[in-house]
C-alpha cells in the first residue's frame, strides 16, 4: 500500500476522534502538524472529495450555525484501517531508525574512547 501523503494523513488523523466540520479540520490539522501544514478551503475540499470517493471519510451530519452550513465528517471503518496501517508503517520506520541511531551512538562512544587511546586512527592522518 502506498504511504499516505502528509496532508491526507493529517486530515484522517484529525477525523480519528469525533466528527469535525471544515474549519474544525483546518484547525486540527494546524494543531497536529504544529503549524507546519495550514490547509485552505481550496485544498481541503478537493482532499475531502477524494477521501469520500475512496470511502475513507463520510459526511456525518449537518448543522446551521449563524446562518452558515457546517457539514461534519467522520472516519469510516475503511478510513480507520487505512490510517492504522499508515501509523503502523511509520511506527516501524521510526523504530528501525531509532535502533540504528542507538547503535551509532554506542559505536561512536567506543570510537571516541579508542580515539583518545590511539590518535593515529584519525582518518585525516
Amino acid at each position: 500500500m502506498t504511504p499516505l501523503q502528509e496532508p491526507t494523513f493529517l486530515v484522517l488523523a484529525a477525523l480519528a476522534g469525533e466528527p469535525l466540520y471544515g474549519y474544525g479540520i483546518i484547525q486540527a490539522v494546524t494543531e497536529l502538524s504544529e503549524g507546519r501544514v495550514e490547509l485552505r478551503a481550496g485544498t481541503l475540499y478537493p482532499a475531502l472529495d477524494r477521501l469520500t470517493a475512496d470511502g475513507l471519510v463520510e459526511a456525518a451530519r449537518e448543522e446551521i450555525v449563524d446562518g452558515r452550513l457546517r457539514r461534519y465528517y467522520r472516519l469510516t471503518d475503511a478510513g480507520a484501517d487505512r490510517l492504522a496501517a499508515d501509523v503502523e508503517r511509520q511506527r516501524r520506520n521510526a523504530e528501525t531508525a531509532a535502533a540504528r541511531l542507538a547503535a551509532r551512538t554506542a559505536q561512536s562512544s567506543t570510537r571516541r574512547r579508542a580515539g583518545r587511546a590511539a590518535p593515529a586512527l584519525n582518518p585525516g592522518a
Binding site: 466540520y21 471544515g22 474549519y23 485552505r40 485544498t43 481541503l44 477524494r50 469520500t52 452558515r68 452550513l69
Partner: protein
C-alpha cells in the same frame, strides 16, 4: 455594506469558478469555511485562497479528478512542456538568423523559463504572454514569408539549411506545448522542487546546445533528429510503463499521454520518408500540398487531428464527470469507459489496416505482427483476468513499438496515433473494460471511417489523399452522422444522460472543417459551417439548462 458582507459577496463570486452542480453540493459549506478562516475586518479574498479556488474550480470543470493520477500527471507534464516550448523556440530562432520575429518569440519563452526558475509569482503571466507573442510573430512572419514558403532540401552540400519552410511546424509545436504548460499551471500547483528545476534547466540547456552544434555543422541534424527527437515518445512510454509496473501509479502515464499530444507534429517536423506510403498520414499531407509539404494546410490538419483527438478524450471524461457530479464519485468507472473506447478504436484501426494490407498482397511478417498483435490484444483483453490482461497489453505495446520503430516499417503505421491510443489502453490495463463497449467503439470507429470514405469517395480509409480539397457540405453532414454513429452505442449501452460532451465534440469537428474551408477560401460554406458550430454549442447549452430544470422540477 459591512466588511463581512462585502467579503462574503466576493467569496460567492469567486466560488463561481466551480461548476453549478458542485457549487450546489459544496458551495455553502466552502463559503462558511472561507468566512471562518478570514481575518477580522478582511474585505478582500486572500490571494492564495483565490489561486487555490480558481485552480480546483477549473480542475472540477474539466473533470480531472475522475482519472486517477491525472492531476499528478499534469503536474509533471507542465514544466516539461514549458521546457520543450522554450527549447523549440530557441532552436527556431537559431536556425533562422536575421528573423526579428523569431528572436522575439525565443526571448518571450526564455523569460517564461526564467520566471519558472526564479520568479514564480509572474509565471502564469509570462507563459500567457509568450503564447500571445508566438501567435503574433507567426502571423507577422507568415505575412512576409508565407507566399515564398517553398520546401527546401533539409540537407545540402553537407550543411544544414535554413529552415524557412518549417517555422510554422516548429511554432505549432511551441504553441501546443505552451498551451499544455499553461493549462497545467492553471489547474495544478507546480511544486518547483529543486530537482525539477535543475532537470528543466538542464533540458533547455541541452536542447539549445544541440541546436547550436547543428548550426555550426559540428553534428548532423539528421542524427540529432534520429537520436533525440524521434524516439522521444518511445522513451516516455517505456519510462511510463516501468514506473507503472514498479510504483503502480498512473501519474507518469498521464504525463506521457500529455507529452505525446504534440508528437504528430514532431513527426511532421522530421518525417523524411523516401516515398509516400498509404498509411503515413503525414506523407499524405505532403502529397496534397504539392508546393509545400510544410504548408499551413498540412499543419492545420495535424493540429486539428490533435485537437480533435483531445476533444474526444476530454468529451468522454467530462460526460462522465457530469454524470458523477450527481452520483457517488467513481473515477475508475470513467477510466474503464475510456479504456474500452480506446481498445475498440485500436481494434478497428488495426483490423481495417490489416485487411487492406492483406488485400494488397503486402503480407510481411512485420506488418502482420504490428497490426495483428494489437488487434488480437484488443479483442481478448476484456475477457482476461487482470494480471494476464496487463501482460497481453504490454506485450502488444512492446511489439507494435519495436516493429514500427524499426527502419523498414516506420512509415507504414500511423505510429503516433497508435502510440497515443495504446497509452490510454495501458493506463486502463488494471480495469476490466466492458466487452460490449469495446465492440461498440470498434463498430463506431469503422462507421466513422466508412462514412468519411463514402462521402469523400476516397480510396484510403478514414482520411484519403486530397481530402482537405474535397471538403463539401455532404462531408460536413458525413462527419456529423459519423460522430452520432460513434456515440450512439455508447449512449445506448450506458443508458447515459444526454452526453453534452458529444455535442461539444461535434462543434470541435465542425471547427476543424471550418479551418479547412477558410484555407480553401470557400466563404459561403465556411459561414454555413460556422453557423452550425455556434448552433451546436447553443443547442448544447439549452439542452443542459432544460434538463437541469427538468431534474429540479421532479426532484
Amino acid at each position: 455594506m459591512r466588511p463581512d458582507e462585502e467579503l462574503e459577496r466576493r467569496y460567492r463570486n469567486l466560488l463561481r469558478a466551480y461548476p453549478r452542480g458542485y457549487r450546489e453540493h459544496r458551495g455553502e459549506e466552502m463559503l462558511a469555511t472561507l468566512m471562518e478562516t478570514a481575518r477580522p475586518g478582511q474585505t478582500r479574498p486572500d490571494r492564495q485562497d483565490v489561486a487555490e479556488i480558481l485552480r480546483s474550480g477549473l480542475r472540477e470543470r474539466l473533470g480531472m479528478h475522475c482519472a486517477p493520477g491525472l492531476v499528478a500527471g499534469v503536474t509533471i507534464a507542465g514544466p516539461v512542456c514549458l521546457a520543450v516550448a522554450t527549447a523549440i523556440a530557441v532552436a527556431t530562432c537559431a536556425f533562422n538568423p536575421g528573423e526579428v520575429g523569431f528572436a522575439v518569440v525565443a526571448g518571450a519563452w526564455v523569460l517564461a523559463a526564467l520566471a519558472y526558475l526564479a520568479v514564480p509569482r509572474v509565471l502564469g503571466w509570462t507563459i500567457g504572454a509568450a503564447l500571445i507573442v508566438t501567435i503574433g510573430a507567426v502571423a507577422v512572419v507568415y505575412a512576409r514569408l508565407g507566399s515564398r514558403d517553398i520546401y527546401r532540401p533539409y540537407w545540402q552540400n553537407g550543411r544544414p539549411m535554413v529552415f524557412v519552410g518549417e517555422y510554422r511546424v516548429q511554432y505549432a509545436l511551441t504553441l501546443v506545448c505552451g498551451l499544455i504548460a499553461l493549462l497545467s499551471f492553471l489547474t495544478v500547483h507546480w511544486r518547483r522542487s529543486t530537482m525539477e528545476q535543475v532537470a528543466v534547466a538542464a533540458g533547455i540547456a541541452v536542447a539549445v546546445a544541440d541546436t547550436l552544434l547543428v548550426r555550426a555543422g559540428t553534428i548532423d541534424a539528421r542524427l540529432l533528429w534520429t537520436v533525440f527527437v524521434r524516439p522521444l515518445p518511445l522513451v516516455l512510454l517505456v519510462a511510463g510503463v516501468v514506473v507503472v509496473a514498479v510504483r503502480r501509479t498512473t501519474a507518469v502515464l498521464w504525463a506521457g499521454l500529455l507529452l505525446s499530444v504534440p508528437t504528430p507534429l514532431i513527426a511532421s517536423w522530421g518525417s523524411f520518408a523516401p516515398q509516400p506510403t498509404r498509411w503515413n498520414f503525414v506523407v499524405e499531407v505532403y502529397a496534397v500540398a504539392p508546393l509545400s509539404p510544410f504548408s499551413l494546410t498540412g499543419i492545420s490538419w495535424l493540429a486539428a487531428t490533435v485537437a480533435l483527438g483531445a476533444a474526444f478524450v476530454v468529451a468522454v471524461i467530462v460526460a462522465d464527470a457530469h454524470r458523477r457530479t450527481m452520483a457517488p464519485r467513481d473515477g475508475r468507472a470513467a477510466l474503464a469507459t475510456l479504456g474500452a473506447l480506446a481498445l475498440g478504436t485500436v481494434a478497428a484501426i488495426c483490423g481495417l489496416l490489416l485487411a487492406d494490407t492483406v488485400y494488397h498482397g503486402d503480407i510481411a511478417l512485420g506488418s502482420l505482427a504490428t497490426l495483428g498483435g494489437p488487434l488480437a490484444a484488443a479483442v481478448v483483453a476484456p475477457f482476461l483476468p487482470a494480471r494476464l490482461r496487463r501482460a497481453v497489453l504490454l506485450l502488444a505495446l512492446a511489439g507494435v513499438l519495436t516493429v514500427s520503430y524499426s527502419e523498414r516499417l516506420v512509415t507504414i503505421v500511423p505510429e503516433q496515433i497508435v502510440v497515443v491510443v495504446l497509452l490510454l489502453v495501458i493506463a486502463t490495463a488494471e480495469l476490466r473494460p466492458n466487452p460490449r463497449l469495446v465492440g461498440a467503439a470498434a463498430l463506431g470507429a469503422v462507421a466513422v471511417g466508412a462514412a468519411l470514405n463514402w462521402f469523400t469517395q476516397g480510396t484510403v480509409w478514414l482520411l484519403p489523399t486530397g481530402w482537405p480539397q474535397r471538403v463539401s457540405l455532404p462531408v460536413v453532414g458525413g462527419v456529423v452522422i459519423a460522430f452520432a454513429v460513434w456515440w450512439a452505442p455508447y449512449v445506448l449501452i450506458r443508458a447515459e444522460r444526454f452526453p453534452v460532451g458529444a455535442l461539444f465534440a461535434f462543434a470541435a469537428g465542425l471547427l476543424w472543417l471550418a479551418l479547412h474551408l477558410a484555407l480553401a477560401g470557400d466563404s459561403p460554406r465556411l459561414i454555413a459551417v460556422l453557423l452550425v458550430c455556434v448552433g451546436g454549442v447553443v443547442a448544447a447549452r439549452l439542452v443542459v439548462r432544460w434538463r437541469r430544470r427538468a431534474v429540479a422540477g421532479t426532484g
